[in-house]
Amino acid sequence: MNKMEFNQLEETLYHEQLPNGLTVYILPKRGFSKTYATFTTKYGSIDNHFVPLGEKQAIQVPDGIAHFLEHKMFEKEEGDIFQEFSKNGASANAFTSFTRTAYLFSATGRIQENVTTLLDFVQSPYFTEQTVEKEKGIIAQEITMYDDQPDWRLYFGMIENLYKNHPVKIDIAGTVESIQDITAEHLYTCYHTFYHPSNMALFIVGNVEPDSMMEFVKDNQAAKTFDPPAPIERIFPDEPKEAAVKERTLEMAVQKPKVFVGIKPERLDLHGPEMLKHELSAQLAYELLFGRTSNFYHEAYESGWIDESYSFDYSLESGFGYALIGTDTNNPEKFAQEVKKTIHQAVEKWPFGQEDLDRVRRKKIGFFMRALNSPEYIANQFTQYAFNGMNLFDIVPTLEQIEVADLQEAFAAVSAESQQSVFTIKSPDKDPE
C-alpha cells in the first residue's frame, strides 16, 4: 500500500492498484463519524461510440445509455439494492456525468458490509428485457422533469451552441425517444466494455482504518474473476475550434429572460499537471474578470442588468470544456454585449498584476481548505482529477507556482471571438387577444 502525506493539510492518502487493475484510495478523516465511498467508472454520456470488448467493429449506442445503465445496476434478481443499503443504515445513490458514472453510499456504521454491497452490486450486472422496459417510464419522467427546468435547458442549450460534433452536446439522460431503443443487450455490451476494474476507482473517505480496509477490499476483489485488462478504444469525432452556433434563443415560460455567454477553450488536449495548471490559471483569470470583486460585476449589479442568479464557471475535461457567464436579466442583449466587451478589452490590454493574482489565489486556497471538510467533495473531485491524470492535493502547490503570465496565457486560449456564443431563454410573446 502506498502512502502520500500532505503535511500542511494534515491529510494522508493511502492507495494501491490491485492485481485486477482496480485503483483503491483510502483517506481517513479524524473526528468524523461518517464514511463516504464512491465506486466510479470512467464511463459517461460522451462514451457512445466505441469498440466493444473482444470485438473489432466500433458501434454507436443510443443516447442516454450510460445513465440508463446506472439506473439498472440497482435492480437485481433478488430485489432492489437500495433495500440492502438501508438495512445497513447507509444512504446510497449514483450519478452519471459526461465522463463518469459513480455509485456511492454514506454511512456511520457497518462500513465493511456496505463496502461489500457497493462492490458486489456494481460488479454483478443483471438486465432483462422486462426490467429494461419497466425503467423507461421512470427515466422518461426524469427527462421530463429536467425539460421543465429552465436553468438546465440554459446550460445544455449553451453546450449545444458550443459543440458541433462532440457527444458532450447530447443530454446525459438522452431523450424520451432515444431511450426507447435501449435493450438489455446494449446494457451488457456497455457494461462489459467499461466496468472492468482497470477502468474504475474506489475511494473511501471518513471514519476508516486504512490497513484493514485495504485488506478487506483486496479479499473481496481476489474472490472474483475478471478478464485481463484491455485498453478501451473510444472514438470521438473531429471538433472545430469555433463555437458551432453564435447565437440562439429558446422560447419557454420564464419569469425573466435567462442568458449565458459561453466560450469554448482552445486547449482540449491537456492531461496531468499541465492540465491542472491551465485549468487553475484560467479559473483565476475568469475570477478576476467576472468574480464578485471585478469591475464587471460591480457595474453590472449596480446598473441592475444582473441579479442574484448571476454565476460564472470554467470547466475543463479531456476533449471538451467551457467558460460560462450568465444571469437572469431583463436585458440579455446588454449583458451579452458587456461580457464580450470585457473579454475583448482584456485581450487588447491585460489589466491584472501581481496584487490581483495574490488576492484571488488566497481566495482559491481558502475555498479548497473549506472543501476539505467535505468527504463528498474529496472523493468526487479526487476521482474526476485522477481520471485526467491530476492529483487533487496538488491544487495548493500548483496555485502557489502560478504567475501573472500564466493567467494571461490561459486566458488567451479561452477568449477568441470565434469561440464565443450566446444562448437566451425568453417567454414567448403573448398572443394578441
Binding site: 493539510l9 479524524r30 473526528g31 468524523f32 463519524s33 461518517k34 435492480e75 432492489d80 437500495f82 433495500q83 443499503f85 438501508s86 438495512k87 443504515g89 444512504s91 446510497a92 454514506s106 454511512a107 456511520t108 419497466k134 425503467e135 417510464g137 421512470i138 427515466i139 419522467q141 426524469e142 421530463t144 422533469m145 425539460d147 421543465d148 427546468q149 429552465p150 436553468d151 419557454m252 415560460a253 420564464v254 419569469q255 425573466k256 464578485r292 470583486t293 471585478s294 460591480h298 441592475g304 441579479d307 442574484e308 442568479s309 437572469d328 488576492r359 484571488v360 488566497r362 482559491k364 486556497i365 481558502g366 475555498f367 481548505m369 473549506r370 476539505l372 471538510n373 467535505s374 468527504p375
Partner: protein, 424 residues
Amino acid sequence: MFETKKIAQGVHVHVHETTQFKTINFSIRFKDRLTVKNASERAILANVLQHSNEMYPSHTALRMVLDDLYGTSLYIDSTKRGDDHLINLNVETVNDQYLSDKGVLEKVMNLMYIVLFKPNFENGLFKESIFKREQESIVQRIESVFDDKTRYAQQRMMELGLPGHPASITSNGSIEQVKQVTNESLVAAYHQMLENNEVEIYVVGDVSPEVISSHIRDYFHFADRKELPAKTDSQLYPPAQSRVLEYEDMKQGKLHMMFFTPVTFRDEEFPVMQLMNGVFGGYAHSKLFANIREKESMAYYVSSSYASQFGLMFVLAGIDRKLEEKAVSLILGQLDEIKQGHITDTELEQTKALLTNQLKEALDSARGQIDIYDQYMELLEDFDPAYLISRWEKVTKEQIAQAANNISLQMTYFLSGKEEAKDE
C-alpha cells in the same frame, strides 16, 4: 457538544471546540417572530448589511477584504423556523494554523463587528441606492420561484391552503410587502434586530471557549433584551378547497398533497411520526419509492416529508399529467397499508437505521452541528444524539399504525401543462 455562556439577557454564546474541521465557523442568529411584514423587511435588511458598510462602502471593497482573508466566506441570509424569523450572519474562515499567515481570526472577528454594527449609513438612513437595489433584488428573488416548478407548486398549495399561517409565510415575505418597505422602516427593523432580538452566537472549530467568549464580549456590545415567550403550536384550519388544479406552460405534472397530523416537534409522539414518515415516503426503501416508482414506474421522484414544526406532512411526485387520479389513489393506498399495520420488521429497522445515520452524518459538518443544536435547544437541556436515537429505538409498529390513523389528507394540488386543459 456546545459550551454555553450568557453574555447578556437574551444573548448566548455557544462554542464547540473541535479539531474535526480545517476551518472556524461562526453563526450569529437574530430571532424575531415571523410575520409577512417582518420577513419582507428583514430579507432586505440581510442583503443591505451584506452589501457594504461604513468601513468598506462598496460591495467590491468588502469582497476584496474577504478574498484577502483566504477567501473567508461571509454571508447574511434570512430563514424561518416554525413561527420564528431568523437573520443569520454566517462566517467560515480557514484556521490560521494551516497557514503560514497568522492573525486571520482576529481580523475576521473585527470584520463581523463592522458588518453588524457599522452599516453604510448616510444621514441616519441606509444609502438610498443600495436600499433600492436590494429591495428590487428581493422582489426578483420571490418572482424567480416561478422558474422552479416544484417550489412554485408547493408555494401555491401553501398560499391557497393555509393563508396567513406561518407555514405559508416565506422567509422573503411577499412582493407586496417588500415594495412597501421604506428606508426609514428598514432602519427601524435594523435597530429592532440589534437591540431587541434574541441572539444566539455559535462558534465551531479548534478554538478555546474562554478565549473566543472573551473576544466576543470585546467585539460585540449586545445589551440585555427580552427573551421570546415559549413556543406554542399555531392552530391549523382546514383549507377552503380540498383539490386545486392549476395550469402553466410545462410538460410534467406536479402532484402535491398536504396532510395534517396532530403531532409536532414539541410532542411526546414526535419520534413516532418521524418513523411513520420514513416508512411511508422518507427514503429509497420506503413504501412510496418501492411502489409508485419501482413497481408502477410512474415517477422519478416521489417522497413524503414531515414539517414537524407545524404538524404537517407533504407528499410530492412528478408524474405524467394524465395520471393524477391514479397516483393519488396509489399513494393513499400505501398510507392505508401503514394504517392497517402492514409494516415489516425490515422496514422498521431500515427506517430506524437511516434516521440514526442521518443524524450522525449531519453532525459531521459544523453547519449541521449548529442547526441541530439550535433546533433542539428549546426541548432539551443537554443535547445528546444518543438520547434522540434511543427514542427512535423504542418505537413499535403498532405506534406507527396508530400515528398513521391520526393523519388526514387536507388538500391535493396539481400543476400541469396548459395543452391538456384545452383538450378536456
